[in-house]
Every structure is written in C-alpha cells, then in structure tokens.
C-alpha cells in the first residue's frame, strides 16, 4: 500500500499523494490538483471482426499460411535467380538483372513471412489487453541496507579507507599503468619523420618540368609554354612524380592548376612579378580550407571554385579568396621556361600548401 501510495498514479497522471505515510519523491514545481479528473479505467474491450465472424477468422488464417508459402516460394526463387542469372560476362545489364531477381526473391521471402506473422499476431492471436504492474525502479530499503552493508564489510575487511598509503599507491599504479600502452601508439606514424617538415615541402624544385596530370598514378607529357593558350587550364603534376616512393602522398601536395590569362589582367605584386610567365600562372590545386582539389575553373570570371565547400579564388588577383570559408589564397608556384620552351618550376612553393595547421608559420 505504501509503495503504491508513493506514486499515486492510479488517481491520475498527476501528483504524489501527500500524507500517506511513505516518503513521496519531490514533485518540484508540479501543480497538484486535489480535485483532478479521475482515471475512468480501461474502456470496454472491443472485439475484432475475426472474433465475431468465424468466416473472417478462417480467411485470416488462410491469408497467413498463404503468405508463409509465398515466402518459401520467394526463397526458392532467389536461389533459382542466383543460378540462372549469371554475371560473369561483366556486362552491367547482366549484373543489374542478377541483383534485381535475387533481390526480388529475397524481398518476397522476407516481406511475406513478416507480413504473415504480423497479421497472425494482429488478427488471430488473442487480443485482450494485458496489464502488468509497474514497480518503482529503486531497490527496496532492505535491499539497499544490505548493499550498504556489503560495502561496509568490504571496506572493513580490506581496510580500504583505513590503509590510506596502500589505497593511494594503488590509485597511482592504476593511473600509471596505461601510459606504456598510450606510448606504444606513437608507432602509428613513422618514427623518423616530422609532420611539420613534411607538410612544408613538395616535389617541386628548381627546373622540374610541369607535366600533365593524366589521372591516378599517371604522368603525362611535359607542357610547353606555347601549348598553353589564353583561357586554357591544365591539371599539372611534377614531371618526376612517378619516381616518388609514396606517389599519392606526393601528388596530394604537388597538384597544380595552370592557366593563361591576358598578362594585363594579372594583378601581381612587384616581388611576385617574376613568378608568372607571359600571363601563365600556376597555383596549388589543394584548397586552403580543408584540402579538397579546387578543380572548377570559370574561364570568363577567372574564378576557381572548390566543389566541396564552395570557396572561390580569383586567379587574376593572386588567387585571393573572394567567397567561402577559406581564408588564405592558393599558394603560387613560381614558374618560368627552360631552354627547350617547357614550363619549369623556379622553386618549391614559398609556403605550405593545403589546409592550415597549427605550426604552419614555424
């Protein structure tokens, strides 16, 4: 009685009853109406049509077992489809048919058994409401007292509180013991390398020719200044990229976009005047935001757009950011031509390429 009075929900969703003896949990700022509307109790049970009409019940039964048979047919159908729709030709159409027919068979097998079971549960199985009593979540006071007793005894028998030196040294040991494990994780990256140094250097150096990026691991032919017509754009990698040990790592830093504009359109600072060649400029293709390739060039506005987060860079104005979340302009690769008319780098980039990092200015 006391337990029930504590929660008092039988008189409505509102409020613990007061003055019933047991300690009621605080109701906070809840308003406790003494004259709340009373719970009228469960409404009378309404019978289903399957309970009233044996014919309908019979039909529901037929539906359920028919669905289960359909499921068996679906399972077998999926096995047959697996055998009779080969994909070994590599033709996309064959793969599509195989996927579709095996899938349809499995769908039938799954949906039919699922719908059948649910229909059985809803239409045929007894549907009178059951009521479970709910008990308060906390353990009763006797159990709690015993739990407290357990801890008290354990404390006394071990002297956990009393022997403070033992306890504290144990805590110290437990704090120290994961340290070697964490240290081992240093091995996740190579021991002899420093990320800051690596991030500051790319494969570009004086005299390296600019070659076409043919995608993936490929390096195309070197590019002559004469090949770069006004308005054209080239995706560029260092000509010696294929000699790199970690090709994709190097490519991820060294990719460059090459564009030719009318030289009078270029706004260049004096100290950078020598970095372009006859209106040809080369900028890092790695976005200074989070490092996506800035792959979209809009010819008539001379804007570069990053498709990931829509940062836009103005090629005529040293690739300054004109929109989007990036802050810094794309780093420029100083270029010139060699004796044979090929475009070559004058040096590496003058600043780290790609996304910002903590030690970028070091």
């Amino acid at each position: 009685m006391a337990e029930a009075a504590k929660y008092n929900g039988s008189e409505g969703a509102v409020v613990p009853a007061e003055g019933h003896g047991a300690v009621a949990p605080a109701a906070g700022t809840a308003v406790i109406a003494t004259d709340a509307v009373q719970n009228p109790g469960l409404p009378p049970h309404r019978k289903r049509v399957t309970d009233l009409d044996p014919k309908v019940e019979k039909r529901a039964e037929r539906t359920v077992y028919t669905l289960f048979y359909v499921s068996i047919a679906g399972s077998l159908g999926a096995v047959l489809a697996y055998m009779f729709f080969p994909i070994e030709s590599g033709d996309l159409w064959d793969i599509r048919l195989h996927t579709m027919f095996v899938g349809v068979g499995m769908t039938l097998s799954l949906l039919a058994v699922g719908i059948g079971a649910v229909h059985w549960g809803k239409a045929i199985m007894a549907d009178h409401e059951s009521i479970d009593e709910r008990h308060p979540v906390p353990s009763d006071s006797a159990t709690r007292a015993e739990a407290v007793e357990v801890f008290t005894l354990a404390n006394e028998e071990s002297g956990f509180s009393r022997r403070s030196l033992v306890r504290n040294s144990l805590i110290g040991a437990l704090i120290a013991f994961p340290l070697p494990g964490i240290t081992l994780l240093r091995g996740l990256a190579p021991q002899d390398q420093d990320p800051v140094t690596l991030l500051k250097h790319t494969m570009w150096e004086e005299g390296i020719r600019l070659a076409r990026d043919t995608g993936g691991y490929g390096v195309g032919g070197a590019i002559r200044a004469a090949d770069v017509t006004i308005g054209s754009v080239f995706h560029v990698v260092p000509e010696n990229l294929s000699q790199a040990t970690n090709l994709l790592d190097e490519k991820a830093k060294a990719v460059v976009l090459l564009m030719r504009l009318e030289p009078e359109k270029l706004k260049e600072r004096d100290e950078r005047k020598g970095w372009s060649y006859d209106g040809i400029v080369a900028y890092s293709k790695v976005c200074t935001h989070v490092g996506c390739p800035v792959a979209l060039y809009e010819q008539h506005t001379h804007h570069l757009l990053c498709p990931c987060h829509q940062s836009q860079f103005d090629v005529t104005d040293e690739a300054k950011v004109i929109f989007g979340p990036a802050k810094r302009p794309l780093p420029q690769l100083p270029i010139t031509v060699d004796d044979e008319g090929y475009l070559v780098a004058q040096s590496d980039f003058q600043e780290p390429v790609g996304p910002s990092f903590w030690e970028r200015l070091k």
């Binding site: 929900g9 039988s10 613990p16 109701a27 906070g28 700022t29 809840a30 109406a33 004259d35 709340a36 509307v37 719970n39 009228p40 109790g41 469960l42 994909i87 590599g90 996309l92 195989h98 996927t99 579709m100 095996v102 899938g103 349809v104 499995m106 769908t107 699922g114 079971a117 007894a126 009521i131 479970d132 709910r134 996740l188 990256a189 990320p195 690596l198 991030l199 995608g215 490929g218 970690n246 790592d249 830093k253 935001h289 989070v290 996506c292 390739p293 792959a295 990931c308 987060h309 829509q310 004109i322 929109f323 989007g324 979340p325 802050k327 996304p355 990092f357 903590w358 030690e359 200015l361």
Partner: protein
Amino acid sequence: MSTTVTPPPTQNQSGSSRFTSAAANYIDERTKIGVAVKEFGRKVFPDHWSFLLGEVALYSFVVILLSGTFLTLFFQASMAEVFYTGPYVPMKGVEMSVAMASTLDISFSVRGGLLMRHVHHWAALLFVASIGLHMLRIFFTGAFRKPRELNWVIGFVLFVLAMAEGFTGYSLPDDVLSGNGLRIIDGIIKAVPVVGTWMSFLFFGGEFPGTDIVGRLYMLHIMLLPAMVILFVALHLAFVVIHKHTQYPGPGKTQQNVVGFPVLPVYAAKAGGFFFIVFGVIMLIASFVGINPIWNYGPYDPSPVSAGTQPDWYIGFADGMLRLIPPGWETEWFGYTWSWNMLVPIIVMVGFLIVVAIYPFIEAWVTGDKREHHILDRPRNAPTRTAIGAAGVTFYAVMWAGASSDIMATHFQLAMEGVIHTLQALLFLAPIIAYQIAKRTCLALQKKDRSIALHGYESGRIVRMPGGEFIEVHKPVTDYERWELVSYHDYEPMMLRPNDDGRIPFGKRLRAGMSRWFFENRIVPPTHRRN
C-alpha cells in the same frame, strides 16, 4: 533411458509434446531458463506505431551485421597498388588500391555481391535515420524523464557510434568520394590547436593519404565500433526491461501499470514479423535502387573531384556547417595558426550534441520533479519542450541544407552566394521562428483540448431557441475521451525566495528564470471544481 529426475511422461501425451517437454527439461536442467521464461514470457508491452522506430533501428542494425559479415568475406582492406583485371571493362588495367579492386570484385565478380553492398549501404542509412527519428519521438513525448535519463544518454552514444560506423564504412572502398571525405577529415583534424598536425600524422600513419588508413578504419568499422554498438544496444534494451516501456496517456493507463500485449505470443509474432518486414523493405530498395556506384567515380586520386560532392546524409550537417562559415575566419596569434573556420563549426556541432545529450538533466533541474514518469507527454502538453525541440530540429535542418548549397544553387538557378547568405541568416532566424510557431501551436491545441473537455465537440447542429437566439449544440465527450485530454502534468513557474541567509544564490536565480521561461505560458488542465 538413463535415470534422471525427469518425471515420466504421462500416458496421454502425444509424441511431439513428449519431445517438447523432454527438450525443455533438458535445457532447463542445465540453464535454469524456466526462470527467464516465467519472468519475461508474458511481459506486457504497450502498442503504438511510434514505438516501432527504435525497433527499426535495432533491426536495420541486425541487417547491417548480416550483410556486413558477407562483405568481409570478400573485401580486402589493403592500400597496396594493383591493376584491376576484373570483368568491368572501363576499369580494366586501371591502377588502384586492393581495397577498391576488391570492392569492384564484390560488385561485378561475386554473385549477389552488389545486392549485399546495396543492402549494407541502405540499411546503414536507415539505421542512422531511424535512430534520429526514435530520438525525436523520445524527446517530444518526454520519455527521457526519470528514471530514463541514463538510457537517453546511452541512446545518444549509439547515435554518435552509428555516425562513426557510417563514416568509417563510407571511407573503406578507397574511391574518389571516400578519399575526398577523408581529405576533409584530415583538414579538420589539422585545424585542432596544438595537437592537430600530429593527430593527423598518427591517424594516417604519415602524410595524407598514406597506405594505412583503410586498414585502420576497417578495424574500427568491423571490430571496435560494432562491439561498442552491441554493448550499448544490450545496455539500452536491459534498461527498457528494467524500467518497463512507457505508454501514452489513456483511460486505464497509470504510472503503476503497463497496458498492452504479452511477449508470448503476440509480440513474438508482431516484433519478429516486423524484423522481416524491415529486412524486406531494405531488400526491396536494394534490388531496384543502386547506391554508391564507385566504378563511376574511379579509384582515389588527390587531384580530381566532381561538382555536387555530397556526403552520406547523416554527415551532411557537419559538412553544411563548414560551408556556412564566412570568409576569412582564421587568425595567426603568437606565431601559430588558429583555424576558426574549422574550430567554430566543431564547437557549434559539439555544443549542439552536448545540449542534446544533457537535455534530460536540464529539464529535471528546471522542474525539480523527482517522481518517476512512465506516462508519456503528448507534445502539445509540454509546449516549451516541444518548441525547443522544433528549434533544435530546424537548426540541424539548416546546417544540413548547407551541405546541399551547391545543388540548390544549380537546380533552382540561384546564385551560390545568395544561397549561402540566406542559410547563414536562417541558421539564426529559423530556429527562433520555429520555436515561436511550435509554442503557439501547442498552446492553441491545449486550449482546444480544454474547451473540448469542458464543453464537448462542436456538433455542427444549430438550434434556434424560443427567444430567437441561435446556439450550436455541443456534444459532450465520454469519460474515456476526456481523460486523454485532461490527464497531463501541470507545472507552474518557480517562486523565487531568499534562503536562510536572506540571499538568493545565482543558481537559484537561474533556475527560477528557466522555470519562468518553461512554464510562464501554460494552460491548466481542467479539474472537477473548475468544470
């Protein structure tokens, strides 16, 4: 026959029932399973469509485990370079990682492999979606209140784990899209002050992309994260059993009972059948709708990226938030780089998620209500909570829309800048508007309920009184209907009183302010006296 304590079967038992009882006896003598069957076999669960959302999440996770196990039989998580030699002509001879090549093999050389890839990916999308909807159901009905606050936190952890599972899986095939996704993660990690550069270096095993990341993500994706998901699902369900399921308010339903149907046989049939329905629907989608056709994207290459790049939907809010940062948010202080264009989105998103995680404790503190709550709130009966939820959903939705800013611009022929600026404004305005609309709607609905409870339904019948007056006849509601309308909790704003020292501490002042915010506008449920 050996001699056991088994009572000999009675004469009139048929063969099959004799076998059943012998088997049951065999198992019980070794497992004490009878106790579990007695305890849980007739356990009652309430019925409501919205309780199925969590089930969808659970079942789609089972589907993910099944299809994922199949995929691991063929997938090879190596970034070693190979030339593709399989049957798909456009990729023949292309240099790629073993991970990508084995994914192509699953798609083109293993019968049913493409179907299982589709099942796995669609089930993953459904998994996160159903968790999200389940959380919204819990939130808007107040099911997170005592004693379920900790289970809300467990569910929240599952939501985060599900997103992590999704992202690690998305990154495994090592195609252009997954590689660019990792590139963005790399950029975000590098933005973390002090440790970012080293974290990225350790994570990728050297420079981006390196040759380790797929193997590492694979370990996370198929071992560590699933183990954690299973652990937290087990905890989550254990708490559902301990607390017993909540129920919607209704006649006969109280804080001390559960009205519904027993596990055996009704829920065994309905929930068991529902698993197959969820599986079947995923299979149906997987049969007809392809997803993530990596052979169109090609192997990862740091150079190309296509326009309209989109993450899977559940990462969209993070990607969108990155896009909504105005230009130039990066500072160079004390010789170091502070990338606010990354840090602010991280802080906003983490802050948002933390508020979601701790909301139950905030509300409990504001109401000071220490009672157990097993009857759900109808969302209208907690107007401020519902409005906060609406604002939160809207905030999330704007971030999410941000991830499609370029698609919106191209599809609706809008200026990219216009879309971004609109979304930036909406990020602040839309939640406020949604809050106000939701709150006003809730209060209006409560007023309507109150009027129906007191005066009955409008019958549409107009009667002319002898004096010439026209009135509309209202039909009274039944006791059962009235109970649903009036049985809700009513809280009033906290009264601010000084403590024994005559002071009002800041915490109390804050709580009183919050309490006013929550409960100042309230519709009191009708009672007998006021009828």
